[in-house]
């Protein structure tokens, strides 16, 4: 600015003044372009995200496909990612510690084939935990994510009795250092939230992004063009306890 308004005070020679002017104009142009274009790129990136006031809809059904053939034996990256993201601490008390996701290794009784897989809330279409909850604290969002309303959970644990996957944990002791995005409370029940706050902003659950082996695929089960829907169409997958007809949102390949 001073370059143009006060040429008489300029200490430089002609060429260097031109260079400075050129630099100034090009930087200004770059900043202006960035200011205009970047939000567009960002908005494009989160085109699927909903704003905070917008309710979840049943236009989507979120789900995860776990490829057990890629899930490495002994790897716990997804569990670490979940624990870190949601502030879960185990403190060597597995019987009372909160497990939103756990690693399980199975052996087929007939063939002896072994599988390793992560197990978490299966986000059922017909969740027994929601059916039995006396206050309605356990609820299913229209987009299929099953959650606990910590404000009206009375801590009766009936949902834990009803869950076929042992996916819920009761908070047995006071909690410190909570994460603001994953509120928890002593005396209430909790389980995998599918990192709902991240999903609502167009992101993915931390277990999925934390998996180094590409064994977890997150997406909209209802959208035939989504990667998960295409994959499910292409490969064999199973629901855990399919006999209960709960239609979980988590599917497993290779079991």
């Amino acid at each position: 600015m001073s370059n143009t308004e006060q040429p008489q005070t300029c200490q430089c020679d002609g060429d260097s003044c031109d260079n400075q002017r050129r630099n100034f104009i090009s930087k200004t142009a770059a900043i202006a372009a960035g200011t205009v274009v970047a939000p567009g790129i960002f908005l494009h990136q989160v085109a699927q995200a909903k704003n905070a006031a917008e309710a979840a809809t049943d236009a989507v059904r979120w789900g995860i496909l776990v490829d057990t053939t890629k899930c490495a034996d002994g790897c716990t990256d997804c569990i670490k990612a979940c624990d870190e993201r949601n502030g879960l601490t185990k403190e060597n008390r597995p019987e009372i510690a909160a497990h939103w996701i756990r690693k399980v290794t199975l052996r087929d009784k007939a063939t002896q084939k072994e599988n390793s897989l992560p197990l978490m809330c299966q986000h059922c279409e017909h969740p027994p935990c929601v059916d039995v909850c006396p206050t309605g604290a356990s609820f299913k969002r229209p987009d299929g994510i099953v959650l606990v309303d910590k404000h009206i959970c009375i801590g009766c644990r009936y949902c834990m009795m009803a869950c076929p996957y042992k996916a819920r944990s009761f908070v047995h002791e006071a909690i410190t250092d909570q994460k603001a995005h994953a509120p928890r409370g002593k005396g209430t029940v909790e389980s995998c939230t599918m990192c709902v706050d991240q999903v609502d902003q167009g992101g993915q659950p931390s277990c999925v992004t934390g998996c180094q082996h590409g064994a977890m695929l997150f997406g909209d089960l209802k959208d035939p063009e989504s990667a998960i829907a295409k994959k499910l169409k292409e490969i064999n997958s199973v629901q855990l306890r399919a006999d209960l007809s709960l239609n979980p949102g988590i599917r497993y390949h290779g079991l």
Partner: protein, 405 residues
Amino acid sequence: MKKIHYSEIPGKNIGFWAILGMLGFFIAVGLGSVWHMEHEGHHVTGMSNQIIWGIPHIFAILLIVAASGALNIASIGTVFHKTAYKPLGRISAWMSICLLIGGLAILVLDLGRPDRLLVAMTTYNFKSIFAWNMILYNGFFVIVGVYLWFMMERKMNQYYPYAGLAAFVWRLILTTGTGSIFGFLVAREAYDTAVLAPLFIVLSFSLGLAIFVLFLMGVYKGTERELGDGLLNRLAKLLTIFLAAVFYFVLIYHATNLYITNQHGFENFILADGGIYTTLFWLGYVVLGTVMPMALLNCPKPAGKRWSIAAASALTVVGAFSLLYVIIIGGQAYPLEIFPGKEVIESGFMDMAQGGYYQYSPSQWEIMLGLMGVSIFILATLFGSKVLPFLPKSLADDVVDPHAK
């Protein structure tokens, strides 16, 4: 039958107040343990993410099931017109209210958030059988309260048969609801069966009657009132029938499971390999809780003797406790079958239970909570009998006519 005169129990001797004091002490200790549990969190109990409901729930369900059973005595007089039972109607109704208060006190105080009781009472999910139970429990207080009032109030006396019928129907629904808390759990091998509802109903018959007999014998002995052998023997005969009915339903429950191949693992666990649960089933329920009381009530030598009726009633309570322990805690101790056809060889969350099933050791805190509920029931029943005329002055055979149709 002669005219029945009711009166309050005197309750003036030291023994009475000593009993009340002892019960008050247990209640105070129980409340202290509740404070500790709520302050520290449930990690001070033996309950975990595997054994979700523990000993407090056994005490609570025992008392709740007994509540509807204790009311049976009044129903037999009012609904089925058995004259000999009519003098027992008032205390039967009052005792059932007190049993329910005791049971619910435990359930509520075991909640993770007992301070949210108001939420539980005002926010309902009507698909939940648990929510329905809350309505059934509250309704029970109202209906049985009205029934009791109609029985005692001369002006309303003509209406008490209607109230008695309503209370009888309500109690059947209530126990069906209690049994269905487990019957509706599709995921667990021990539950997910409609037979649990009628099983809980017949269990309420035997358990409620046994507790009623024990209370009657204790109070009439303590207050030196007459309790006829004829009436006691009639109650004892009824207890035999109820014990047999419970055994029948337990038999059906296990026979059905033994027929279904994928239930064999669970049956093997309860009946053969389940450690404490197997012991409690065979020794606690079958031998002590069924065979022994049946023998005491029916073998010629002990039959009809007061000690034998009291012992049989006490053993019935032991049997019911054992059976509920096996069903409720044993049902959780057996690991969930999440992956049929596969065995879990490694898990980060105890899917592979040690020794084939989950361990549970109740802590002193939860036992004290359970005993608190029992104490509330006894204290409230005794106190009510002291301030209101619930008990007949005499239940002698020449007053009651125990052989009346």
